[in-house]
Subunit: 263 residues, 2 copies
DNA sequence: CGCACGGTTGACCTGTATCAAGCCGGGTGG
DNA sequence: CCACCCGGCTTGATACAGGTCAACCGTGCG
């Protein structure tokens, strides 16, 4: 998967402002949270300007990652959490025997790296699915400042708890849903998160391959493909490559909590 | 369960208000962590006695839960985390359409309730699979004290991170393993945790039904049963009801990371 | 232009679910 | 104390969702 090349340059408006000429792999520079437009996604709301000043110190630098590059890898020492500013990531765990599992897809405003806290080493890989930029937040700094700013402390707890709850949802999906339900749930989840970021509620561009979707959903890529085709036949979605338009969101919702009924 | 006269000394501040009236189902009383024999499972190590005194304030009361009783339920307000002192729990999430999924089994020394932090309400049920006793740790108290005791702060972060990593493992299991691998992984995990608590490395008593195991592993109870039978035939384990003796742990390990070879 | 990777589709196979019957053990009430 | 019942478990027969293997296509990159 070493296919760096031209960044997938889909013009789905939005984050263009942050497009800055890329130099080498991971260029770094300094910025402030206080005037970041993603603030309300990463940070607690209602901070005094004094507190905000403290919180600004959480982010030391930003870092750019090219498509296909890794933000961190299983086994690497853990030092920082990362707030995604732009771009799209997948995280995945692997067993020695080569099998691997995508554990999540992360987009702007989301935090990654929480897995590293327990053992001071990361236990999964974070791979950029498109050119990305993250805010680096050294974890000792986070702990220090969250001792002073209660709202930040609670916010950190919430972020971790949210991740736990999200994973519960994935377990439910993997443990008890059939292929159609999984894919429907996946699409609804993606589009909902994108919508919260100001994108369309009905149209999305998949940043990942069918294989990656399959890995996340516990399905083979062929099954993902077939299920997409089925949705298309039924007029629920339009699919052209990675571009998906949802024609009937209600149908998707019905699929998710139908479970073939009865019993 | 000696009446904790030693704990009565604490007398800190006016938290008496939090004393919940004792009901029949869940009896409550006060104790100290500093001389709890599970300390090293719940708490950070290497605290000064001064810090330990602060940390003692984290646990307000204990609570007993009978087999089949719930510690908390989906939708209930979140106020506290719980450290399991004795007994065995399952946590499970459910969809409106009745389907549900066991997300984990918890034993002595483990912490439950982390799911409630994000939304101030629990998002899953915690059910006692045998008579149990838990330490109640009001979360605002945890936050307060962990601002003062760095080691506690970091410990809380680790506990949450550990849960995230554990769930990654379950996702891997559910997303990419076959029935035998799942059950083998499950048994190894259980026995390893029990061993860490001083129990046998080769013998265990399952506290849950085949159906609950199945729910956790994303299998039907019949498949769980058949897979047990297969392991018995192969001489890997002995199974009498819920009593399991592992005869060949190596074989289980081989099953877990074999994945039908090759590729 | 052509290759290669991602995606689609078809044919077939298999692991697990489903349905059903029966067993075992423990608790209850007569 | 026994008979009975019931929940949990096992086992068999059969069905089917999804996996596997394979061929082919389209598109975007070198």
């Amino acid at each position: 998967m070493s296919r760096p090349s031209a960044a997938a340059k889909v013009s789905t408006a939005g984050h263009e402002a942050t497009h800055i000429p890329i130099q080498d792999a991971s260029q770094t520079f300094r910025v402030a949270c206080s005037n970041c437009n993603l603030r309300e996604l990463c940070l607690p709301v209602g901070l005094t300007s004094e507190q905000m000043e403290r919180v600004d110190d959480v982010v030391t630098v930003r870092r750019k990652i090219k498509r296909g590059g890794t933000l961190f890898r299983n086994g690497e020492p853990f030092t920082s959490l990362f707030a995604i500013r732009t771009g799209f990531f997948k995280t995945c765990v692997a067993t020695e025997d080569g099998r691997d599992q995508v554990t999540g897809f992360q987009m702007a405003g989301e935090i990654i790296g929480l897995d590293g806290i327990v053992h001071d080493h990361h236990s999964c890989d974070a791979v950029a699915l498109e050119d990305a930029e993250v805010c680096v937040m050294p974890f000792d700094r986070i702990e220090e400042i969250s001792r002073e700013v209660n709202a930040l402390q609670h916010h950190v707890h919430k972020i971790m708890s949210r991740e736990i709850v999200r994973e519960h949802g994935v377990m439910l999906l993997l443990g008890s849903m059939r292929a159609e339900e999984r894919l429907a749930a996946f699409l609804l989840n993606l589009v909902q998160r994108l919508h919260a970021r100001g994108f369309s509620q009905t149209e999305l561009v998949l940043r990942m391959t069918r294989e990656e979707i399959g890995s996340y959903l516990g399905l083979k890529l062929e099954t993902v493909s077939r299920t997409f085709s089925k949705f298309v036949e039924e007029g629920i979605v339009e699919v052209k490559q990675r571009h998906v338009r949802i024609l009937d969101a209600e149908a998707l919702k019905r699929i998710v909590n139908s479970q073939q009924e009865c019993r």
